[in-house]
Symmetry: C2
Subunit: 189 residues, 2 copies
């Protein structure tokens, strides 16, 4: 999606260690009009797929998911990240290793909000290692929900997550795919 | 706001200990069309106030804030909650006691995204003790930003937060104000 790629070129900051800072418009300060354009693009790509709910994970997926959901006219459910491994109550739970913060958190969703009648679009801001998206897929599997696919804002295509998840038969629609990056330089696929 | 009050009556669950569960439409599963109606109501109430940015706090404020921001045509900044007291880097930081989870977290915003030219609308899902909103007010103060007011979805008006913050001269627009509640019974102001 050209609009997102241009925004990343203009306002994204490529740093050492394959870090891409997009916090001025995507995941700390948030340009909701850009999110609306992204939502429209996913709605176009997933038209006719029967998506009835969007599943995302806190925190930075929530804003993108909610604005996109207006285009699909469906509700959003967000998985909560918990640091405790002993999750009480009636929930689905999947472990998600964190590469940014280290350690493992548990992604949790109430059983009341996902089930076999759902056909989900999974939304997240980044796809790199694939850990967060695999957590969402595990939650969907536990619920018996179908997955129409995943809508990702920025995929680091030089990391293995996207390829591994597509190899499982999951449709992944990333709006900007980064082929390679180094400080001061970003190249898209 | 009648639409929100009716939804709380229908789908909200009042439990022991003044707990109001609204997780089927507000803060776990999220009805974004309701959020749009809420955003329009805040846009009506704060029309002409010169709001140029919305400030909220993760996680459950983000979805409401992003959908509301479409009505104001402004960006959103969300404060990140950190468990560490030693915050590194160029940020504003305010301590926020958590009544749900216990303990204290620190609300953090990059200095790049708030400043003296900003005129903020603060958005959150709940106002009860006022701790989260006071954290956002402290961040705005540190940034030298003006505050047009606060847009709250659900205010527990029987708790002291709303009164204390209004007494500081802050305009607080809560769309549903609960006068009293007990298991199975919710009364609005």
């Amino acid at each position: 999606m050209r609009e997102l790629e241009e925004r990343i070129r203009r306002d994204g900051i490529a740093e050492d260690g394959d870090v891409l800072k997009v916090d001025s418009f995507l995941n700390h300060q948030m340009d909701v009009e850009l999110f609306q354009a992204m939502g429209r693009e996913w709605a176009r790509r997933f038209a006719g797929e029967g998506v009835n709910k969007i599943l995302t994970i806190e925190a930075s997926g929530i804003g993108i998911a909610c604005v996109a959901a207006l285009e699909f006219q469906v509700p959003v459910v967000f998985a909560k990240k918990s640091r405790t491994r002993n999750i009480a109550g009636d929930v689905y739970a999947a472990e998600v290793p964190s590469y940014t913060h280290g350690g493992v958190s548990t992604a949790v969703v109430s059983r009341r909000f996902l089930g076999p009648d759902d056909r989900l679009l999974l939304i997240d801001d980044f796809l790199a290692s694939g850990a967060a998206l695999e957590g969402l897929l595990a939650l969907a599997r536990q619920a018996g929900a179908a997955v129409a696919g995943a809508g990702i804002a920025v995929e680091k295509a030089f990391q293995p997550g996207g390829e591994r998840i597509r190899a499982q038969g999951v449709r992944v629609e990333s709006l900007a795919r980064i082929k390679s990056m180094s400080p001061g330089r970003i190249e898209f696929c």
